[in-house]
Symmetry: C2
Subunit: 349 residues, 2 copies
C-alpha cells in the first residue's frame, strides 16, 4: 500500500471507521458507527426545519418534524457500509477517503416508511425516480452542490425516513433531524440532513449519481452504479494489540474467533475462516438471524497448531451465491473492495 | 508535512478527531468528541465490575457501580485535548497517532469527586501519588501492560470519577463503566475503563508516566512530563469545503468567524485573528465564561478587503501569560504542538 497524503489524512481525521472490536455489539453504540461526511455537518434548527415532498406528485407536502413523528413509525435494524470501504488496500493507490476495512456499523433506525409517505403524496403516472437532497453543501470536481442522490421508485420499498438512531434523536453527524436509510445499499444512498424529496420522470443526472459512486474499470469506462452491498465478513482481531503497529499477539490455546457478516444482495448463508492466509478454510458457526438488514454473528473455535506468525482470514457468502474474493478488483473510484480481511497474529507459548 | 504510513492510517481510522464545525456546540455531542484508545475497547460486564481503592489507605474499598452512584454526585463541563494534538504538523515527521488540530472535545462528566472518595479511604501519612489502572491491555515498546497513569495527591483536587457523559451512561469508547476525568490536563491523564486506584509512597514509574507523555527535545533529553493543556484557539473553517482537499471557498461580504479557546493553565483572556497568515492581528470578542474547565467561545466579524487567497489564523492567550506560538517546537513524542491554526480560504466575488 502506498502512503497517505495530508489531504487524505484530513479526511481520515474527520470520517472515522468502527474499531473492529465493536463487532461484539449487535447494535453499534453511537460514536462507533462509521461516518462519511462529504462536506460539513450543517447546523439545523429543528424548530424551523421542514421537509418538502414535491415534483410529480398529486399532493405535494411540507412536513415538520412533529408532523413526521405523528405518523405511524417503523423501526429497522440496518447494517450500513461505505461504498469506499477497503479503498486504501487497492494498488495502485486511489485518492479519496482512505478506508481500510472498518467503514461499517449497525443501528436501529426509527422513522416513517418512505413508501407510505410517497403513497400519501401520490406520484403521477410518469414518475420514475425520487431525488433526495441534503442540507450539506460543498464543491466536488469544481461543481458546487448540495449532496443529492436518487432512487428508482421500485427501489424505495424498504426505505425509512429516520428521525431516531438507537432510541434517541439522530445525532448531528448522522443527519439530524432526518435522514434517509435504504437497507441493503451502500451508505451513499442514505442521504443525511434531508431537506427535500422530489419525484421526477427521468434518471437523475446529479454529480453523486452520474459521476461519483460508479464502478469503473478505467477512465474510459462509463461503469455501473454502486447499489447494494457486496458480501463481507469481518472478525474481531483476537488477542492484544501493540499500540503503534496494531500487530496482534495471542497466547497459545483455544481462541474463540468471532465477527459479523452481511450482504445487501441476499441473506448470509455461510462464513469460512482460514489461519494460513486463505490456503485452507474451515466453516464458522452462524449466530441467530437478527433480521434481513442486520449483520449476522459468527464464531469459530481456533486451536493454533504451532506458535509464531499466522494470517487469519474470513469470508462470507450469501444465498444468491455471492462470495468474497481473495484479491480485490481495482477500479477508478476505489469502491466495493470486499476482498477477504487478513489479520496477522503472532501466537506465543 | 511528510506522508502517513499504513500503520499510522490504522490508528487514524480508529481514533478520530472532532470535525471543526462541531466547535459550534458548547458541549460536544457524543460521537464527535475526540477519541484516543491505546489498545482495544475492553468488554466490561457492569454487573460484575467493581472498583478497587487500595494501597496506602486506612480504609481500602471495593465499590460497585451502584455504590458509586449512591454517593453525592458532581458534574463538570470539561474541555479535553489529546497531548498529541498537532503532531502531524511537525517536521521532521513523528510516527504515532497523526493528529492535525482536531483532537479535542467538551463534555459534561458526572460522577463522584475523587477527593471525597480518597478522603473516605483515608490515605496514610506517607501517601504521595495515586495510580489509576484501566482494563485496556496491550503492548508498547515491547512492554505488555494495562494502561496506567498516576497523579500526585496534590493534583487530585478537581478530578471526577465519571459514570455519565452528557447525561447518559458512559459510552464504551469513553471508558464504560467508569473513567477518571482530570480537568485542565491533557487527556492521557483521564484513564478510561478504571479497575483500580492505588495510593503509593513514591513517584509512579509505569510506561505511560516515565517513558511516554514526556516533552523531550531529543533522544538524550529526559524531558519533562506533560501535564496541563497549553492554550489553543480554533476556528470553525468558514464557507464551504471541496470534498477531497477540504479547501474552503467564502463568498465576499461580512463573514462571522467563530470558534473556541481553552488553556489548562489559567482562564482564557483573549483571542486574536489574522487574515494574512499572522502578519497582522485583530482582537476577537469573547463569549460568556462557561466555567473554569470549559472552552470559551469567541467571534469576529471579518470583512475581506479583496478576493482571492487568504490564510486565516487565530491564537489564544491565558491569564497566566501563555500565548500560542506561530511555529511549533519540535519534540521526540510530537506532543503539545499548540502553534496557531492556519485555515486557507479563497474569497470569491
Amino acid at each position: 500500500m502506498g502512503e497517505i497524503s495530508l489531504e487524505e489524512l484530513q479526511l481520515a481525521a474527520r470520517n472515522h471507521g468502527m474499531p473492529l472490536e465493536a463487532l461484539r455489539y449487535d447494535v453499534t453504540p453511537v460514536g462507533l458507527h462509521y461516518l462519511l461526511i462529504h462536506y460539513d455537518i450543517p447546523p439545523v434548527d429543528a424548530g424551523s426545519w421542514a421537509l418538502s415532498l414535491g415534483g410529480l406528485v398529486a399532493n405535494p407536502m411540507k412536513l415538520t418534524l412533529d408532523e413526521l413523528r405523528a405518523r405511524p413509525a417503523v423501526e429497522l435494524t440496518v447494517t450500513m457500509e461505505c461504498a469506499g470501504n477497503g479503498r486504501a488496500r487497492l494498488t495502485p493507490h486511489v485518492v479519496s477517503q482512505p478506508w481500510l476495512n472498518e467503514a461499517v456499523g449497525t443501528a436501529r433506525w426509527r422513522g416513517v416508511a418512505l413508501a407510505a409517505l410517497l403513497e400519501e403524496a401520490s406520484p403521477l403516472d410518469d414518475a420514475a425516480e425520487v431525488v433526495f437532497t441534503g442540507l450539506d453543501r460543498g464543491l466536488e470536481k469544481e461543481i458546487e452542490q448540495q449532496y443529492e442522490r436518487s432512487l428508482r421508485l421500485d427501489d424505495t420499498r424498504d426505505a425509512v425516513l429516520a428521525y431516531e438512531m438507537n432510541g434517541a434523536a439522530l445525532p448531528p453527524q448522522h443527519g439530524f433531524p432526518l435522514r434517509l436509510v435504504v437497507p441493503g445499499w451502500y451508505g451513499m444512498t442514505s442521504v443525511k440532513w434531508l431537506t427535500s424529496i422530489e419525484v421526477i420522470d427521468r434518471p437523475f443526472e446529479g454529480y453523486q449519481q452520474a459521476e461519483a459512486y460508479r464502478f469503473r474499470l478505467d477512465e474510459d469506462d462509463d461503469g455501473r452504479p454502486l447499489t447494494r452491498m457486496a458480501p463481507r465478513a469481518l472478525m474481531i482481531p483476537p488477542g492484544i494489540p501493540e499500540f503503534s503497529s496494531r500487530a496482534r499477539t495471542v497466547a497459545r490455546g483455544d481462541v474463540r474467533l468471532e465477527g459479523r457478516a452481511w450482504s445487501g444482495h441476499a441473506p448470509i448463508t455461510g462464513v469460512e475462516v482460514s489461519d494460513d492466509g486463505g490456503e485452507t478454510w474451515a466453516d464458522a458457526d452462524l449466530g441467530p438471524d437478527e433480521g434481513r438488514w442486520a449483520w449476522r454473528g459468527w464464531g469459530h473455535l481456533w486451536r493454533p497448531k504451532r506458535t509464531g506468525y499466522h494470517e487469519l482470514c474470513c469470508r462470507g457468502r450469501d444465498v444468491a451465491g455471492n462470495v468474497q474474493p481473495l484479491e480485490p478488483q481495482w477500479n477508478v473510484g476505489g469502491y466495493s473492495n470486499n476482498a477477504v480481511q487478513r489479520v496477522p497474529v503472532t501466537v506465543t507459548e
